[in-house]
Structures are given as structure tokens and as C-alpha cells.
């Protein structure tokens, strides 16, 4: 009974949910379904127990420390959930008239305003559903901008070799040729190389700052200059925004267009993989290309506005409204001071962990990091055979979600740690103790680490067979 799929718990007739005595179909024969639905038949008590069991076999920020680099797993405030369940927001159909949805439009407008202020951008859309979606939107805008300015020959997008996979994937989807810019040995963009490569075919450079090693690209002004001089646009991947709120703004650094991850920086919950929200902000110059419709204020009414030069729609309706509402609630709660305080503490917490771990793992950058840092287990691997993967798996037994592994690609046996600001010193010390213990154990009892985890519902899984002979759904054994 335990560890069964919901389909395996089905007993015919157990589900007594009777809504209306109406099951007679009036669908004409030629349109009617002839095959079975194969939906499970379970009583409500068993449904609830089933999902409680699944919850016990899951791990959220509400269960424990989650130092996943670049994901900003900060606390998801419960007040956000309360606001997102207000029925005057949930029971609203997106196609209701503007007069009917002034409340929703106000939230969208005000969120846009504060996010522009935080990022130094002139305008913003809340339509994209996720970071990658925001990247795609930004690149479509850049492409349209160039085409509208008779620069359609600009077909190259630069991406640092340390960038997240969505960056080149998004550029390719819009038909751009992707050229990788190498990093220097300290992990910065190789400015000299960039200068050499930038020419009249350069459409854009995609960058995150701080970069994926967790350090601030100090040459950002020069980088922006190089790209702008050849008529290119500078795109900001906002994944690492949690390091800089109230400290420095992408708009002030020279970025022309950017996306934010509300499910990272602005505390909306990850939901096991979504939904997120990836607003795109831009300068005045690119604003006409933002997706339609835009929310504007006319007098004291909020209206939906259409721009002729817009790239069009990237998603139905206005975006993930309830996610955006949560982010708005968060920003209202923290205010300007609170957002800065969040970033300052995020950076402090990361540096604290870095300082405690530096004698046990190889740090990928000297000096202070920002909100995250990358360390390598490559020496441990060389000496003992214990890999970053083994270290990560051993953390599971300590009920800590492992850091990001094997990213960025330019670092061997990489572990990327981002504690965020919503962790106490006690938690940080506990995590450091576990990591230090694992590093020591690698030299004393490597086998133990190769076997980790041992206290989880399952042990290491056969990913090879899962990919060779995929079983992607439950099929009842006849």
C-alpha cells in the first residue's frame, strides 16, 4: 500500500463523489470517445493519505537548508500565499473588462513600477512565465529592434562560457549564431577577446552580474561600451539579482534589457519546478517592442495598451498573475530598505560559509564573493576518488539539500553554494560542519561517501536505464 502509485490504489466504486446525477452523454456517436479513461478510483481519505506520503518524501525550503547556487532558495513567506488565495483575485477571468479588473491591473502596474525602480529600467512586462521565457522575450525584442533599424545583418550573440544553458538555447531559438566568450583564469569575461570579436555583426552580449562564479564583473562599464560601440545590445540575466538589490542596478551598469526571476529574488515559491515568473525590463529605446498588452495608468484608471511595434504575445493573457501578486506582496512587506538588507545579508552569509570552508575545498575565486561562491572538490577527487556528486549525496543524509553540482561547466567537480539571507548562523554552521565532515570522511572512508545517501526513501538510482529504456507513465500489468 505504501510506495504505491495512485493508480495502484484504485478500487472500483471507492470514489463516492456525487455531484449531480448526470453521467449520460449527449455527444453524437461519431464524436464520442470509445476508449477508457483509466482514471483511478480512490476514496478521499486515501487520496489525502497518498499525497501526505508524497509530501513526506519531498523536501522544500520549509523542511531545511537549500543552498542551491543560482536558485536563491530563500524563505517563501506565508503571507504571500494568503494574498494569492484572495477570491477577488483567484475567481477573476482574464477576459473580464478593464473596469472589472482594476485591482489586478493595479497590482501589475505597481509591481512593474517598483521592479523598474529596483533594476534601473524604464519599462517592463510581466508576461513571461519563467527566466528562460524572459530570455527568449528579450532576444525577440533585440532582434526586432535591429530589424526595425535596418540592422538585420546583426546575427551574432555572445555568451560567456560560464553561462547557464538557457542563454545560448534562447539565442538559438531566435535564429542567432552563438559565439562563446572565454573567461579569464579568475572567471571574468575576457574583455580583450570580447573587443577583438565585437563587430558590426554583433547583435547582443548576454551576461549575468555577478557572474556564475559569484563575483562582480568589475569591467562591466568597459564591456557595455564595447558592445554599444558596435551597435549591439547588452542583455542582463537577472538570476543573480539577490546580490545587488539597493547596491547597484543593471540599468546603471549599462544593460539595455533584462529578465528577473521572481521565484528566486522575490521569494515566490518554486513549487517543485514551477510556476515562476520572468518579467522583462528594458530601456526607453526598447520599450515599444515589449509584449502586448502593457498596463498603463490614465488618470486614476488602469488600462491595457497595445503597441504597434510590439513583438506580439509570448504567452496567453498577462503572465502568471498569482505569482506576480506574491512578489508584489513581498516587496510591499520589505520596502526599499528591506530589499537592500536582504542582499547585504545574502552576501554576508555567503562570505561566511566561504571563509569557514576555504581550508577544506578549493575556492574558485580569491577575495570576497557576492551572494554565492563556487568551490571545487577536484583535489579531493584526485586524492581519494570521492567526487562532488558523492559529497552532495552525503549531505542528503544530513537533511540538507545539496548545492548546485557541476555548474558552471568551466569548473571541475564544481559545487555552487548560495545560502541566501533567510538563514540563521546556526543553520550556516551546521551546513559547514557537514561539508567539512564529508571532506574529512573522503580521506578516511571513501566507500561510505560512494554509497551515500543511505537514509533517503531510495538510494542512488539507475539513470542510464531510465534514459535507455524510458518508462514515462504507469501501465497496468495485465
Amino acid at each position: 500500500m505504501y510506495n504505491e502509485l495512485i493508480f495502484e490504489k484504485s478500487i472500483e466504486g471507492a470514489n463516492k463523489r456525487n455531484l449531480f446525477n448526470c453521467e449520460k452523454s449527449i455527444v453524437p456517436e461519431k464524436y464520442a470517445r470509445k476508449t477508457s479513461l483509466n482514471l483511478p478510483d480512490v476514496a478521499e481519505v486515501d487520496l489525502v493519505r497518498h499525497y501526505q506520503e508524497l509530501a513526506r518524501k519531498s523536501h522544500g525550503v520549509s523542511n531545511g537548508f537549500y543552498p542551491l547556487g543560482s536558485c536563491t532558495m530563500k524563505y517563501n513567506p506565508v503571507i504571500n500565499e494568503e494574498m494569492a488565495s484572495i477570491c477577488e483575485f483567484t475567481n477573476i477571468h482574464p477576459l473580464q473588462s478593464e473596469e472589472d479588473i482594476q485591482g489586478s491591473l493595479e497590482v501589475m502596474f505597481k509591481l512593474k513600477e517598483v521592479l523598474c525602480e529596483v533594476t534601473g529600467m524604464d519599462d517592463m512586462t510581466l508576461q513571461p512565465s519563467a527566466g528562460a521565457h524572459g530570455e527568449l522575450t528579450s532576444l525577440m525584442m533585440i532582434k526586432q529592434f535591429h530589424e526595425s533599424n535596418n540592422n538585420a545583418h546583426k546575427n551574432i550573440v555572445f555568451v560567456p562560457d560560464s553561462a547557464h544553458g538557457t542563454n545560448p538555447a534562447s539565442a538559438a531559438m531566435v535564429g542567432y549564431d552563438v559565439v562563446e566568450i572565454p573567461s579569464t583564469v579568475d572567471g571574468f569575461v575576457d574583455v580583450e577577446k570580447l573587443c577583438e570579436l565585437a563587430d558590426e555583426n554583433t547583435a547582443a552580449l548576454m551576461l549575468t552580474n555577478p557572474n556564475t562564479l559569484g563575483i562582480f564583473e568589475k569591467d562591466i562599464v568597459e564591456i557595455a561600451d564595447i558592445i554599444h560601440k558596435v551597435g549591439g545590445k547588452l542583455y542582463y540575466d537577472g538570476a543573480n539579482m539577490n546580490a545587488i538589490m539597493g547596491i547597484v542596478r543593471p540599468g546603471d551598469m549599462g544593460f539595455d534589457v533584462m529578465h528577473l526571476n521572481l521565484h528566486k529574488t522575490f521569494s515566490t515559491p518554486h513549487g517543485g519546478g514551477g510556476p515562476g515568473s520572468g518579467p522583462v525590463g528594458c530601456t526607453k529605446e526598447l520599450a515599444p517592442y515589449l509584449p502586448n498588452p502593457q498596463v498603463r495608468k490614465q488618470g486614476d484608471k488602469y488600462v491595457l495598451d497595445i503597441s504597434e511595434d510590439s513583438i506580439g504575445k509570448v504567452k496567453s493573457f498577462y503572465g502568471n498573475f498569482l505569482v506576480n501578486l506574491r512578489a508584489y506582496t513581498y516587496i510591499l512587506s520589505l520596502g526599499g530598505c528591506g530589499l537592500k538588507d536582504a542582499s547585504v545579508n545574502a552576501v554576508l552569509n555567503a562570505n561566511y560559509m566561504k571563509a569557514r570552508l576555504k581550508d577544506h575545498y578549493m575556492m574558485q575565486s580569491e577575495g570576497y564573493c557576492m551572494h554565492e561562491f563556487v568551490m571545487s572538490a577536484s583535489k579531493i577527487k584526485e586524492d581519494t576518488g570521492v567526487s562532488a556528486l558523492d559529497i552532495a549525496k552525503s549531505m542528503l543524509d544530513a537533511k540538507i539539500h545539496p548545492p548546485t553540482m557541476y555548474f558552471p561547466l568551466i569548473v571541475k567537480e564544481a559545487l555552487m553554494i548560495e545560502p541566501t539571507e533567510t538563514e540563521s548562523l546556526k543553520t550556516l554552521d551546521y551546513a559547514c560542519d557537514v561539508l567539512i565532515e564529508s571532506a574529512k570522511n573522503a580521506y578516511e572512508d571513501a566507500e561510505n561517501l560512494h554509497n551515500a545517501p543511505i537514509t533517503m526513501p531510495v538510494r542512488r538510482l539507475d539513470e542510464v536505464t531510465a534514459a535507455r529504456k524510458p518508462i514515462l507513465k504507469y501501465v497496468k500489468k495485465v
Binding site: 493508480f7 508524497l54 513567506p77 538510482l461
Partner: protein
């Protein structure tokens, strides 16, 4: 001001000592001073939880929520069982990350595996992914799946949701692909027009069933035509309707996509929703996005894991067919809980009642002087043509707490019904329309 930062003066001092600094400012030395924000972010000061509640409730009160809803057009006001919202707000499901660390995420992985199974069962397809952003982007991704080196054009029926067509248009424009629309004849796809537009460049043909206007399309008759042109057949479907209508596998669709919002997710002012995508065995490895697979651990115990990852952006980078990274996990979980709570009987009841109500309303409206309904076979939606325009109608309906159909222009309204519309609702709507005309 609210703060979620546990650090105190003392713990901060201790941490700074360990790091070797006297002031947190030192950590930002590497940032060129001319870039630094002088002063605080120019937004209002933070509020306490009490003030936040007041502020947001005040804003919410300016939204108008209706007692009766006859508006559909792709988003529907269906019954959401109490158990669905309760389970979907479980902290573990809400605050977990993507299940990349399988051993600690078996719950989320199994929930998604079950969701994939549900989608395959509803559509009859071999494989489903873990969901994409919404129905519109699911369609765009499905079209991308069909594109080959020599086939870069898609044919889309005008019966497909206009929001989806707009999104697909944007996608195609910037990916350098072409899209052509197929005409309708009395709100049904004109198969002759489709035949005329088919050629060797067409990668796929898209039809929606029931279509945007509520009409039941002849999906069987287009199957042959599309496949003999060696194009893929993409069907956009309403998951509730699949309780009664032919499933995509029965008319040989290659890819089935649609909007999963009707399955236990609220209308939510536009989102978050969920796009489902399911395909035949042949096209399985072309599905974008995350997919959960079943496997065994080293002890032979059944477990679940994210699989077929080599298709995805984090491995293929610029060679990935899609940049998609997230799925709508929580919405997918919600849909799965809904289907478990409803079961086959419950889903059939919802579909039957939604359809019955639509025919009931259609009957009554077509008897009203000045209203014409031209469609015969529908699911839960239809177009009513009024003899003249009416500004009064919306006002009158609003006064009576009724959200009317979608105005399509040209004196036409698209009315939808679900199982939540009562006979009373329907009577009142018809009466008001009679009065106003």
C-alpha cells in the same frame, strides 16, 4: 517593516569577524563606486503584515467577482474540490525546487510521473512531458517539434484559440518560420481550404477540438488528409471534454496539447496555468521540457528520476530544440490531484453537465427573437448572433451579478457553460437578453 533575515547584531558581528571585515560595506568594494546606488531604492517603506493585508485587500476589492459565469474562451470556471486546494498548498510541494536530487525528491517526482500518466490516459498518447507554461506555449513548442530542415511552415485552423495563434505567430516570426491560417465555414474548419493549402513545405497542421467557438470538429476526416501529405497532426484539446469526446489517439493525432487550467486550477486573472503536451512513441524524444521516468535504485527498489535530460538546454545549450527550463510543477500537481479527486465518474459528470447546460442555453437563446445560433454540434460553448449591438447588455448583466459571454465583435457573443451554472442562472441570463433586445 517585515524582515525574514534571522541575523542579529551579535551573529552579524561574529560572522564579520570570521570573514575578517569590520563593516559589510567592505564586501562590495569590488563594485566601481560610480555605479553604486546613492541612497535607498526609491520605493515605499516596508509594511507590517497587518498593513500588507489591508493594502492588498483594498486593491482586491476593486476587482469584480461574479456569482454566475458564462465566459469561457479557453479559461473555465469549473468546480474545484476542497481537497485539491488543500493538497496543492502543502508546504513540501509548494517550497521544493526542481527534483534534480532524486533521492530527496521522490514525492515530487512520483507526483509528476502520475501527472504524466493522467495526461497520457486522457489523450491516449504514449508519452507526456512534465508540463510547459500554458496552452499557447504548448502549441508553439509542438509546432517547433514538427519543423524539419525542409518543412518550415505550419497550417493552423482559425478554430484554434486566437490567443494561441498570436503566441504562435510571435514564435514563428522570430524563429524564421511561416504560419498560414485555414478558414472556417460556420465556425468549423473548412477541410477543402485546408486541402488547398497543404503542400510539401507543411510540417504540421493544427486543429482544436472542441474549437474556440465550441464546435465539435471532424478530427477523423482530417487525419487521412494530413498524414497523406506527410505532415504531423497536432490537436489542441480541452482536458475536461476528453471524458466524452474522442481522444487524440483515436484520430491518429501525432501531438496533443492544451490548457490544463480547467483541471482544478482557478481562473486566477490569467495565470499561472499549465500547458500539457503528449506525443506518440516516435516523437517522445522530441518532447521539450522536463520528463520524469521510472527506474530502480541500487537495491532494486522502484524510484523516479528526471530523464531524457540530454534533450534539454542545460546539456544541449544552443543545440537544444527548446530553451525551456521550468515546468508548471505545482499546477500540474493540482491537475493530478483534481483527477484523483474526481475519478472517471466525477470527470464524466462535469463534462456531461457542462455540455447539457450549453445545449439548454443554446436552445433557449435561439428561441429568443433577435438571437441566432448557427452551430449544431458543440461541447460547452457556442456563438450567439444578436440582431443589433447592445451596450446595455453588459451593464444589465453586471447588475444581476452575471458575467456574460465574450464579445467577438459584429454583434456576436461567445457563451460558455460549466457544471457550475444553475438552471436559475440560465433562466436569468435568457430573460435579461430578452429584455434588452
Amino acid at each position: 517593516m517585515t524582515s525574514y533575515v534571522p541575523n542579529t547584531k551579535e551573529t552579524t558581528k561574529h560572522m564579520m569577524d570570521v570573514v575578517g571585515i569590520k563593516d559589510a560595506e567592505e564586501l562590495f568594494k569590488s563594485i566601481p563606486s560610480e555605479l553604486r546606488l546613492g541612497g535607498d531604492i526609491c520605493i515605499d517603506d516596508g509594511k507590517s503584515e497587518i498593513e500588507v493585508r489591508n493594502t492588498i485587500h483594498k486593491i482586491a476589492s476593486t476587482n469584480k467577482k461574479y456569482g454566475s459565469c458564462f465566459l469561457g474562451a479557453g479559461v473555465y470556471n469549473h468546480y474545484i474540490p476542497s481537497v485539491v486546494s488543500e493538497i496543492a498548498s502543502t508546504q513540501e510541494f509548494l517550497t521544493a525546487y526542481t527534483p534534480y536530487q532524486a533521492e530527496i525528491s521522490q514525492g515530487v517526482l512520483q507526483a509528476i510521473f502520475e501527472y504524466q500518466t493522467y495526461i497520457c490516459n486522457l489523450t491516449g498518447m504514449e508519452a507526456s512531458n512534465a508540463s510547459v507554461y500554458d496552452g499557447a506555449t504548448a502549441l508553439a513548442e509542438a509546432c517547433m517539434m514538427s519543423i524539419t530542415n525542409s518543412k518550415k511552415k505550419v497550417l493552423v485552423s482559425k478554430g484554434v484559440n486566437p490567443e494561441y495563434i498570436k503566441v504562435l505567430n510571435t514564435w514563428c516570426k522570430y524563429a524564421g518560420l511561416e504560419m498560414e491560417l485555414v478558414e472556417l465555414d460556420n465556425y468549423k474548419t473548412d477541410v477543402n481550404d485546408m486541402k488547398n493549402k497543404l503542400n510539401s513545405e507543411i510540417a504540421s497542421v493544427v486543429l482544436q477540438n472542441p474549437n474556440f467557438y465550441g464546435t465539435l470538429e471532424d478530427m477523423d476526416s482530417v487525419d487521412q488528409v494530413i498524414h497523406s501529405n506527410k505532415s504531423l497532426f497536432i490537436s489542441v484539446v480541452n482536458p475536461i471534454s476528453l471524458a466524452l469526446l474522442k481522444s487524440p489517439v483515436e484520430y491518429n493525432a501525432d501531438i496533443a496539447v492544451g490548457e490544463g487550467q480547467p483541471l482544478g486550477n482557478p481562473m486566477a486573472s490569467g495565470g499561472p496555468y499549465l500547458g500539457f503536451m503528449a506525443a506518440t512513441k516516435k516523437l517522445t524524444r522530441k518532447l521539450p521540457g522536463r520528463i520524469v521516468g521510472q527506474t530502480e535504485d541500487i537495491d532494486g527498489k522502484r524510484g523516479f528520476v528526471l530523464t531524457l535530460q540530454a534533450r534539454e538546454q542545460h546539456i544541449r545549450r544552443e543545440k537544444a530544440s527548446s530553451n525551456i527550463c521550468s515546468n508548471q510543477a505545482l499546477n500540474a500537481l493540482t491537475a493530478a490531484v483534481y483527477l484523483g479527486a474526481m475519478g472517471e465518474s466525477g470527470l464524466r459528470q462535469v463534462a456531461c453537465k457542462s455540455m447539457e447546460n450549453a445545449y439548454h442555453l443554446k436552445d433557449k437563446l435561439s428561441k429568443v427573437d433577435g438571437v441566432e445560433v448557427y452551430q449544431e454540434d458543440i461541447f460547452n460553448e457556442f456563438v450567439a448572433t444578436f440582431k443589433c449591438s447592445n451596450d446595455e447588455l453588459e451593464e444589465k448583466l453586471k447588475e444581476n451579478d452575471i458575467l456574460g459571454g465574450l464579445y467577438l465583435g459584429d454583434n456576436k457573443y461567445l457563451f460558455a457553460t460549466t457544471e457550475l451554472n444553475t438552471q436559475d442562472d440560465i433562466e436569468r441570463l435568457v430573460t435579461i437578453i430578452k429584455e434588452v433586445l
